[in-house]
Amino acid sequence: MLLQVEEVTKRYRRSPTPANDSVTLAVEAGLVYGLLGHNGAGKTTLVNQIVGLARPDSGSIRISDRDVVADPGFARRACSIQPQSQIPIDGLTPRQAIESLGRLRGGEAGLVRVRTGRLIDVLGLGEWSNTDGARLSGGVKRLVSFCMAAVTPGRLVILDEPTNDVDPVRRRLLWAEVRVLANEGAAVLLVTHNVIEAERSVDRLAILDHGHVLAEGTPAELKAGIVDDLRLELVLDPEARLIETPQFTGAHVVSGNRITATVPAALAGQAATWAQDLRRTGRIEEFSLAPATLEDAYVALVGATPVLENTPEETDVRAA
């Protein structure tokens, strides 16, 4: 195991509940590991402890079998990180920023130049590669900070919400690059609350809630509990009032004018008839019935708080 987190507990002063409560997880080299959870679930706290910016109250963190709580300097050499907050690069061009980071992380000049050029190409950043950082959009800056973590990658690459602000086309390119990092041998720890994206991108994941690990496994393992469920999604008429969901639906989430609920597969026909009826009477615009996703598993585990979209993360102690 490349990263081993065992029984890590961290409590901040003035906070009644621990930010991390006996967190145990392990990340293998060559895999993308997702760390999912609501705002304030303790994801960033865990990352800060891994890279040596915070110290656990108890428990152990090992990278390549080395105790990084005792040796945070090793953690910094072993990890490259894309923080959730934007890294200001005003005054530098993306190419300069990426190359500088590659060199600061110990990369050899020629190799860093080649890798920088490749990252700029594959992520479609060419037209901005020589633009001052102050004039870049949020999405481009986010991609640049991904490149800064990927140009001379650590054996553990930590990406904290890497796709925030990034356009849909480049998101795909970014996910492909994340996979390249893993294929090159790095362990990738992906921190996100975007469950839909995570389902497509991670090999394993842990769901963190109120500081502890609720579930851990592959996306398929986590969905095993809801394998007999379908996902019913209703798009409401903007004018219509909220719809009372029938008894046979499980946990449901309301997000804007969308309602998502689980339905036992055996009752698919009944659900379809009910939804079709709503559609005919104009109370909903459309509906869909499909196999349950990781998001449904997540909702079933964590509870139906409608915060599955990208929202500002928990207080970032790194900026404090």
Binding site: L53, G73, P83, S85, I87, P88, I89, A319
Partner: protein, 244 residues
């Protein structure tokens, strides 16, 4: 070797980051020095050689101190707020190297102003300054001490408080510190405070090396400055290494 390379890369990084600020900072520092050397004399109806010497040698010190104690806390606080400081802390760079690289860039901003102030004073008042070679280590020591105190201040307290403290410091340094006038003009209690603070020692060190024919070079001042420099360096590196 790695430390040296990191130092070089970080200096370039910081210089580029402050690309827009650097020329402006140099100009502002130059104007500041000019104001003290050429503007302060306007306060006096007649002016003797000693007063002129105090102004001519006090100007560069004030430039150095305001850079260190005012501009540095503001820039470091901003870096703290926007998360740059934490990001830099997550990189495999020795803390001391990071600190030294920052200090180098700031020194580059303030030094032209120092030289400018000395030249202006010499020309404006026809001063024949006897500059000791010790001026080079003295300027470095004063710059290092001022910036590392500023750095420590910004690292230790929340950004808002650091910004306000730096404003209060400006007034204290400009008006109530024996840089442009002799320490014996201060009330006893303030003189006592200044005997342990580094500001007066900074003035003495610079005066002694810029006008070595008039002012003595005191070992005590060097020792006091050295102690402050090491102390604030240590405090800063502890803060930079501290884990939440």
């Amino acid at each position: 070797m790695f430390a040296l390379r990191s130092y070089r890369l970080l200096v370039i990084w910081q210089a580029r980051r402050m690309r827009l600020f650097l020329p402006l900072g140099i100009v502002v520092q130059g104007l500041f020095a000019l104001g003290i050397v050429a503007g302060y004399p306007l306060l006096f109806p007649s002016i003797d050689r000693t007063t002129i010497l105090y102004l001519a040698t006090g100007g560069p010190v004030i430039s150095l101190i305001t850079m260190g104690l005012v501009a540095v806390p503001q820039l470091v606080s901003a870096a703290k707020t926007e998360g740059t400081l934490a990001y830099m802390r997550s990189l495999p760079i020795p803390r001391l190297v990071y600190l030294l690289a920052d200090l180098t860039v700031w020194a580059a901003v303030v030094l032209p102003g120092v030289v400018f102030a000395v030249i202006i004073a010499s020309v404006r008042f026809g001063l024949d300054l006897q500059i000791s070679p010790l001026v080079v280590p003295s300027v470095i020591l004063v710059a290092l001490t001022a910036t590392s105190i500023g750095y420590a201040l910004a690292s230790l307290v929340p950004p808002m408080i650091a910004q306000m403290a730096s404003q209060v410091l400006v007034v204290f340094i400009l008006m109530f510190s024996p840089l442009n006038f002799p320490a014996d003009r201060l009330p006893g209690w303030l003189a006592a405070i200044h005997s342990v603070l580094p500001i007066q020692a900074m003035g003495e060190v610079m005066r002694g090396t810029l006008a070595s024919n008039t002012f003595p070079i005191t070992l005590g001042a060097f020792a006091l400055l050295g102690a402050w420099c090491i102390g604030s360096f240590a405090a800063t590196s502890v803060v930079l290494t501290r884990r939440a």
